[in-house]
Amino acid sequence: MIQPREVLTRRKLVVCVGSGGVGKTTTAATMGLWAARQGRKVLVMTIDPARRLANSLGLKEFGNTETQIVVPGLPQGGQLWAMMLDTQTTFDELIQRMAPDQRTADRILTNRIYRTMSDTFAGSQEYMAAEKLYDVMTSGRYDLVVLDTPPVKNALDFFEAPGRLSRFFDRRVIKWFLQPYEEKRSFNPLAAGTSAVVFKLLSFIFGKEFLGDISEFLVLFKDMYDGFRERHEEVLRIFRSPDTSFVTIAAPTEPSMEVAGFFAEELRRRGYPRAGMIVNQVHQCAEEPLEPEILLGQAARLTGADLHERTAASLVARLGAAHGRLRQLAHSERVLIQDLHKINPAGAFFVELPWLEQQVYDLGALGVVADSLFADV
């Protein structure tokens, strides 16, 4: 069985997937910190709009640029870097790099369809995440990249959205649009064949202005689409590489387990390497109810003169009730975790992290979590 620590010392890319609110970002930061403490140069990449990694690392803000986190006591070679994806900046940089000349780049960057699509619409975030990942992975600047994925309602979006945008630059789509646009500049269905009929109907539905704008946009992109496709395919290749590990992060709640199940299935279907699962925030409690009398006796002695015995009695009653609720919670979590166990592939690790009394925000606390997470299991 592969150990979590082996994943972090041997792999080049670790992708954290799972639903929102399960501590994915914190776990990604924990992994990054631990690997840096083993002497690796690590980048933790988050593409989450809520900027949660910044919180986890005790930083106020960091941008699209890779920022080094000051961690005391790292060994020789160990470095921790973090980056938060800025979709617009990434897209702009990409255009600058891919455009055949500066004039085309400028025209694209000021094109209103481009401005809108690169900034606003669903899917561009996932696409740019993949793009930035390509950039970082091929740069050779890091020994390990830990990627924290955006919180998706639809687990599929993470895998499909980049392809969707890359298909937009598909040769056939572009060719199809350019045909009536370039050859005729008027939508004459008799002259241009079937595609022009469809085109005309589409312009009827969406408006001529819209299709005209799209066509113009595509004309600008026509020399770049091969580059886009190649990069996209390269990212898919990186995802499938044996140097990559996907780790599913979950919390012991029903919605989170469901998303974890989806990811497990999608990863399997796509042949992406599944290293294991981490279940965060697991409550632990003995199955047997306790005898409050024992505590009551101790409490009475401890209270001394400054507290009423009544306080002790009522506290003990409350503790008993709290313990009952905790026991019930721990029990229902146990049932969910057993179900999750079943979908974890053979040979993959399965780690449970206990619920912690203190919320994890700073490096010190992350370090404590790292130690318990990556001890041999």
């Binding site: 809108t116 619409f121 955006p150 309602k153 109907l201 819209f210 009423h308 306080t311 409350r318 313990h323």
Partner: protein
Amino acid sequence: MSGAARAQADIAELIWGKVILVTGKGGVGKTSVAASLGRLAAAQGRRTLVLELDAQNPSLNAVFAAKARYEPVEVQPNLFIANLDWLNALKEWVERVIPAKRIVERILENHIVQLFLDATPGNREVVTLSKLVWLSGEYDLVVVDMPASGHATAMLRTPQEVMNLFTAGPLHQRGLEAQALLESPTTHLVLVALPEEMVVNETLETYNKVRAEVPKLKISLLVLNRAARPSLSDDERALLERLSAAYPGGAEGELLLAGRWEATLEAGTASALDRLGQEAPLLPLIDVPRLAPDGGPERLVRNLAAALARSSSRALHPGGGR
């Protein structure tokens, strides 16, 4: 707390409105809150539709022991659920423009057209919102279980973006209608949060973003889900600390841990309420308690609906008819 006081009438105002959009960070219980509001409205005799958007596996299914599809199904008297997938919505939209069904099908079956429609920026959002406009005419109330806050904010911005992009034509028209729906006084945005620091951060971020980017959309309520109101007195808390120091482990230790677990939850709730009150003083707030995890989603929603109804001043009781 003035926010909570103001919230008294708000549940009633919500369910007597036309559209409720529910969003929040992933995992906070958006679906449960949306379903609860739907239940309450239906119990008042309002013909209500609860919608999920493009769900692979609709969470509403488990809540109502039914299957949410594109065509709404009635799961309780006056209460309908549906899963609004944008491709079906697109088909319907195109069919309304071009009444010839066969031509529409031919166009939409074209591989290139599919690629194009799938990838065109804003297309999904506008088509989805257009269908929502249409549905709001068909039902007394539509409750939308929106995507998680990041994507939801982008979606709410789409009508304005589309109108900027296309100054005339059918898409502009769609954008205009969708924007009008968002700005209507009977449309309400409800944020759902949990008493956890990171969730509160994201909630405030969403609140400020929506106020800046869709300023005329009413943010009517914040539901603080799974809140733990203080139950320990100061004396009890002091004693708990002293006992914890004396018994770090063993059976006593575990009993004390349970107490600290609840004390942690209570402290989290107090600080969340404090922060929300300070940074979003105008946002009406209702906190609903943690509900037992067993009993399944159906019971959870029933209890949540009851908790929401209790916080309202008007006579709302789940199950109480017209």
